[in-house]
């Protein structure tokens, strides 16, 4: 039975945003509940995928879990230790064990540093090591991520997208982490290169026994790499379970729509069945739009087809994640 490496309990991260110059005095604030009560756990050598549209809070979860952002409430357990209120000093030590692959390739690498220096900095920050040891370690890392030695004296802008991604991964590996939060590691890459990176991440997992929290909006990649998948909508997890079940037998209407939009894009004749499920009020979601009850109701095709039942919009009965067998959880009053 693999150990649980990360457990998140009712995590909330709200952002506040003042309205106008004088709101500091009047106390009027807008609250943006980017992550609004999320619980999940991650076992060793396992991958949990987080999917959802942009703006649903995926990245915020990743950052909060690593304590790059302070949570508003909730608890984060890493190795059964509560790190929710860890001090900066403690966090520095923890960062040797948990790392993040950042989404933006160009913003993540210092444009004025050569690749060698980027990697050296990462190695020496956590361990005091001699120069020879550093070069040996850099050589090892390059081999692990399959990058040519000749690239070491290049600057980030001289590398292609795939190579930059590899440098990012090498830097993360340099500290020897056990948990990696991978934030959209394959978006912005071509399919051929995307496949290289996905294969690399899987190989590294089996070689080094890493655990991933894999954030992506690319459903296919998530299904491919994850053992479990959590689908997010407006700061909440609406469905969670084994990746095969989420992909092939989704229970939440939102998951179903996410998948059918993927299939529909490919097929020449979109079937009328998928078209019907999409006929909800198809706006983009918005944290500032008021809702009551189920967050997804305004866009939900099931809500429409059930004749707009009041239970969906009743503020007292927001659907909670409940188990429907085999560890499959869904937050919906009318699961498919």
């Amino acid at each position: 039975m693999p150990k649980t490496i990360l457990e998140v309990i009712d995590l909330k991260k709200h952002f506040f945003h003042r309205k106008g110059l004088f709101s500091a005095f009047s106390g009027e604030e807008r609250r943006i509940p980017a992550v609004d009560g999320v619980s999940f756990y991650l076992k060793e050598n396992e991958t949990v995928g987080l999917v959802g549209e942009s703006g649903c809070g995926k990245t915020t979860i990743g950052r909060t879990v690593l304590r790059l952002a302070a949570p508003t409430s909730g608890r984060i357990l890493f190795d059964d230790k509560d790190i929710t209120t860890a001090t900066t000093e403690q966090l520095r030590k923890l960062r040797g064990q948990m790392q993040m692959i950042f989404q933006d390739l160009d913003a993540a690498l210092n444009p004025k540093m050569r690749i060698r220096d980027i990697l050296r900095e990462a190695i020496t920050v956590h361990h005091k090591v001699s120069d020879e040891e550093v070069s040996r370690r850099i050589g090892e890392l390059l081999e692990q991520v399959n990058l040519k030695k000749g690239k070491l004296s290049n600057f980030p802008h001289e590398l292609s997208g795939g190579e930059k991604r590899r440098v990012g991964i090498a830097r993360v590996l340099s500290v020897g982490p056990r948990l990696i939060v991978a934030d959209e590691p394959t978006s912005a890459l071509d399919v051929s290169i995307q496949a290289q990176v996905v294969n690399l991440l899987r190989d590294l997992q089996s070689q080094l026994g890493l655990s991933y929290l894999f954030i992506s909006h690319d459903l296919r990649v998530v299904e491919l790499i994850s053992h479990k998948v959590a689908v997010m909508y407006l700061g909440k997890i609406v469905e969670m379970g084994l990746s095969g079940r989420i992909a092939h037998a989704p229970k939440h209407p939102y998951t179903h729509i996410l998948w059918s939009s993927l299939v529909e894009k490919q097929s020449k004749e979109s079937s009328s069945a998928t078209r019907n499920t999409q006929s909800g009020i198809w706006g983009v979601f918005d944290f500032e739009r008021p809702y009551s009850g189920c967050r997804f109701a305004p866009r939900c095709p099931v809500y429409e087809s059930q004749g707009r039942p009041t239970v969906c919009t009743d503020p007292a009965s927001e659907p909670q994640l409940r188990d429907i067998g085999d560890g499959h959880q869904v937050a919906c009053h009318f699961p498919l």
Binding site: D190, V191, A195, V198, L224, L258, S261, K265, K268
Partner: protein, 366 residues
């Protein structure tokens, strides 16, 4: 004349010069393709393969030297066929070494003046483009409706402001923006990514162009929004029958919307033919690059059997150092001992391997 293609590109070359490397970046290096009237031509390829540069060359929007240096762009509209690069030779001197362009001197300013003259009547009105990044391509200081109105007044016979505004609203409605009259006064920052994309499409179509170039119309949008935009493009295609050049690296989008497909690699066309011949995974008579590209897409079987994806090893071709032989040779996994020598030394031509289906690969020639 009726059957002549709407757009025919012959041996187009667009180069840039890298000062730090002291060499040419051969972004587009001998592209041939044609688009028949009413057809949608999909252009696929990895980033850096020259897709967007081809499109920008057609529109005369290349800035930076030397830019377009050779080729013909034949555009037939209003009953006559016009070469958009007519007179280009007068501005460019090309020095060749061993059949390869090594020196270019171009009167860039003179050419731009000349090109602008030719393109003024065509750009926007005859050929319209949907640019890659909708948020960046719209003017952030002007309401979207006003931007569309401006395009209509410039490029169509409608010059009356009121009439043009009505027309703009009609097109906003046509691309399914809800409450178009209200959105008319919105600035681009007030619209979501998907809506900006719709506004871009409205602007391009409002001038009723003969040719629409859509450069990555779905990239950067969420999956749900992407499928909506693809639906919209499919619907507009069947209703208006606009001839379209669709550029994308997303093969699913291309296969849904296109009639023919061009596969580009390293600045050249490596395969060209009907969509069913090229993008159907089961058909084996394909260019190795196309098959490799199709194989690297995560599919059902990868998930089911937990097998590794088939990545194409190596990186996209560096268009500065182009090899002597086949451009794909270094990454190709279908080189046989019989053709190895050819692959290494000589670049194959684009030849017909089946009716209407051309490929650039030694596998298919003797």
């Amino acid at each position: 004349m009726k059957n002549a293609p709407l757009l025919k590109i012959e041996d187009l070359r667009t180069y840039f010069y890298s000062r730090s490397k002291q060499a040419f970046i051969r972004s587009v290096d001998g592209v041939n393709l044609e688009i028949r009237r009413g057809e949608t031509l999909g252009v696929v390829g990895e980033s850096g393969s020259g897709k967007s540069i081809t499109a920008l060359s057609v529109l005369g929007l290349i800035s930076g030297g030397p830019g377009v240096i050779a080729g013909k762009i034949l555009f037939g509209s209003n009953g006559e066929q016009k070469d958009l690069l007519d007179g280009l030779e007068g501005y460019v001197k090309i020095g060749r070494e061993q059949n390869r362009i090594m020196q270019v001197s171009k009167d860039v300013l003179g050419w731009e003046r000349r090109s602008d003259e030719v393109m003024r009547t065509i750009r926007g009105g005859e050929i319209a483009m949907i640019f890659q990044n909708p948020k960046a391509s719209l003017n952030p200081f002007t309401p979207v409706g006003k931007q569309i109105t401006e395009a209509i007044r410039l490029h169509t016979k409608i010059t009356d402001a009121q009439e043009a505004a009505e027309r703009a609203i009609y097109w906003l409605k046509r691309v399914k923006i809800d409450s178009p009259a209200l959105r008319f006064d919105n600035y681009p920052f007030g619209l979501s990514g998907g809506m900006c994309q719709r506004a871009m499409i409205a602007m391009a179509l409002a001038c009723e162009p003969a040719l629409l170039i859509a450069d990555e119309p779905t990239t950067g949008l969420d999956a749900t929004i992407q499928s909506k935009i693809v639906d919209l493009l499919a619907e507009l295609k069947s209703e208006l029958g606009t001839t379209t050049m669709l550029i994308s690296h997303d093969i699913s989008v291309i296969s849904r919307l296109s009639d023919s497909v061009v596969v580009m690699y390293g600045g050249t066309v490596v395969e060209y033919g009907p969509v069913r011949d090229i993008l159907t995974a089961s058909i084996s008579s394909k260019h190795p690059y196309t098959s490799a590209l199709l194989a690297s897409i995560p599919g059902e079987e990868h998930v089911r059997d937990k097998v590794a994806l088939q990545a194409i090893e190596g990186d996209v071709l560096d268009t500065i150092n182009i090899p002597a032989g086949c451009r794909f040779y270094a990454r190709c996994n279908r080189v046989t001992p019989k053709i190895r020598e050819n692959c290494e030394r000589r670049e194959p031509d684009l030849r017909e391997i089946a009716p209407g289906h051309r490929a650039r690969c030694w596998l298919y020639f003797d």
